[in-house]
């Protein structure tokens, strides 16, 4: 009886979680006529891939997906390189003001995006990097580095110092010890940080909307929004576009769920 109640509860919550997404998918698979049927029907009859074909044939959507992928990957590289070195320095070297610096960097994470949009816009315009991939990567990385650095520092501190020492005795340089011994051991942390960074970039709207303007630099979230405002709303193809934008992050999430959750909880609790 109690077991049944638990299952019932879980099924209800699961339904709440997925029905909005399934409704989007169902709409994406409907013909134009069926999209505007009332009362609404959940199962498309006949199902069609027409909407997906329309969305993918236009050059805009694949380009926006590509932009988000490119900027996402670049941001991962910049964030991890910068944050891993900083995290290692904080974990292993003692230098004056280390603690203050660590907290100072972390403190920048409490600057909300909305408060600095205007200055970032000025900055981008003045530095003539408005509407480039570069400004996007720079801003996204700067926002991801504090928490990632903190996360990496935690990972590095969990690796015993003796490992550094023995690598140094075996003739590795400081850099060698870091790259050959410590970094490989911290792979789970790097992977979790990379995933969270990618999702963050892929899902961001505000920065991309503010700092880019041309279609060739447009990120996927802005592309979806533009989709609505430009053509009036064609719900079938809009939902096809939404599902396409959702697939990569959802796929990553389903494949690597454990990493996500460990990264998120570590980020919130240790950060």
């Amino acid at each position: 009886m109690r077991r049944l109640a638990i299952y019932l509860g879980l099924v209800c919550v699961a339904a709440v979680a997925v029905l909005p997404i399934l409704w989007g998918l169902s709409t994406a698979l409907k013909t134009k006529g069926e999209v505007v049927t009332y009362p609404p029907r959940w199962i498309p009859n006949p199902p069609t891939l027409q909407n997906f074909a329309v969305v993918l044939q236009e050059p805009a959507m694949p380009r926006h997906l590509g932009n988000s992928l490119l900027v996402g990957l670049c941001t991962i590289v910049v964030t991890l390189v910068v944050a891993a070195h900083a995290g290692y320095a904080l974990a292993r070297f003692s230098f004056p003001g280390r603690q203050a610096l660590a907290f100072g960097i972390l403190a920048t994470a409490m600057i909300p995006g909305i408060s600095i949009l205007v200055p970032l816009y000025y900055l981008a315009a003045k530095a003539k990097i408005y509407d480039t991939y570069g400004i996007l990567v720079a801003v996204y990385s700067a926002w991801q580095v504090p928490t990632t650095m903190w996360l990496m520092r935690g990972f590095f501190e969990a690796v015993p110092r003796e490992l550094d020492d023995s690598a140094l005795i075996d003739g590795c340089s400081r850099w060698g010890a870091f790259y050959r011994v410590i970094l490989p051991l911290s792979q789970p942390g790097l992977a979790a940080a990379a995933l969270l960074t990618f999702i963050f970039v892929w899902n961001d709207f505000l920065i991309a909307f503010t700092l880019t303007v041309s279609d060739s630099r447009r990120m996927i979230a802005v592309g979806l929004y533009q989709f609505v405002s430009q053509y009036g709303i064609e719900w079938g193809s809009l939902m096809a576009a939404v599902i396409l934008a959702l697939l990569p992050v959802m796929g990553l999430f389903l494949l690597l769920q454990r990493r996500f959750i460990s990264g998120l909880t570590a980020g919130a609790m240790k950060g």
Binding site: T108, L206, Q257
Partner: protein, 276 residues
């Protein structure tokens, strides 16, 4: 180390200082016209719209918390039960977490569509008639809160579940043997043990909700008639719709101050309470 400092100095620290600077000027488009000191801040205090925005923000934050916290605790406790398919349910239930605010807004905009949406159909069957939730000034904010809850409850579930899993099963079983009711068990054992996590969740979500622009911008645009124009959206609109850059920077600084206060609380909580 140095690259991290430079990057962050350039893209986080400099801009917030620059925002504070810009907020002291009267601006026309991107030009600073005149230094007016605290003028923008004085204007803010006597701007009834800004107070309206702030009160909407507070309703939005506390309304969303009031939905998400009890729901998050309940779901996390369900997921903490030793039943089969638990991993499957956990995956499905936290799925909305990867759905971006943009997509949440688009999906729900379509679900709530007053002509063809299933939500309206459901309302009609239940006898509410064919109402348009998002174009009714009184219902719009409540609807927005509901949609926001859908998009953000997974964070609460993940963190609370992680905390619950660290509570030894013996503790629960022992009290059950002692004949303690389920409710007392929850109130006297579970709740105190997850209290630090709950505080963290509350602060994280408060910041998320208070600073949120994207979801509101895309779903309602602040309408109907400013009924959902929260402070963060107003800040965005002042800058990028009306090009009142100086005033927007002023609003941004107010939001920043609010964030600092809440972040300091967060740090206090993390330092004082033992983590489970």
């Amino acid at each position: 180390m140095l690259p991290a400092v430079l990057l962050i100095a350039g893209v986080s620290v400099y801009p917030i200082a620059s925002a504070a600077y810009i907020s002291l000027f009267q601006t026309r488009y991107l030009e600073r016209v005149a230094f007016i000191g605290m003028g923008n801040y004085r204007r803010l205090l006597s701007d009834p719209a800004a107070w309206h925005n702030l009160s909407l923000s507070l309703v939005y934050v506390f309304g969303s918390l009031a939905v998400v916290l009890p729901f998050g605790i309940g779901v996390a406790m369900l997921l903490n039960q030793p039943v089969r398919l638990r991993a499957f349910f956990r995956t499905v239930i936290i799925l909305p977490w990867v759905v971006s605010q943009t997509i949440v807004a688009l999906l729900w905009g379509w679900l709530l569509n007053p002509d063809f949406g299933p939500a309206i159909y459901l309302a009609q069957i239940l006898g509410f008639g064919k109402i348009s939730l998002l174009s009714n000034p009184r219902a719009a904010l409540a609807t927005l809160i509901g949609v926001n809850a859908w998009g953000s409850y997974p964070i609460a579930v993940i963190l609370i579940l992680a905390a619950l899993q660290t509570i030894p099963a013996e503790l629960r079983d022992a009290s059950r043997v002692d004949g303690v009711s389920a409710w007392q068990n929850f109130a006297n054992i579970t709740l105190p043990l997850i209290r630090p996590t709950l505080l963290v969740v509350i602060i994280l979500l408060t910041l998320l909700y208070f600073n949120m622009v994207t979801l509101v911008f895309i779903l309602t645009g602040g309408g109907p008639v400013a009924a959902t124009e929260v402070l963060s959206l107003r800040t965005f609109n002042e800058a990028f719709q009306f090009w009142q850059v100086g005033y927007s920077a002023t609003l941004g600084i107010v939001i920043f101050v609010f964030n600092v206060v809440f972040s300091l609380l967060y740090i206090r909580v993390l330092r004082q309470e033992p983590l489970y």
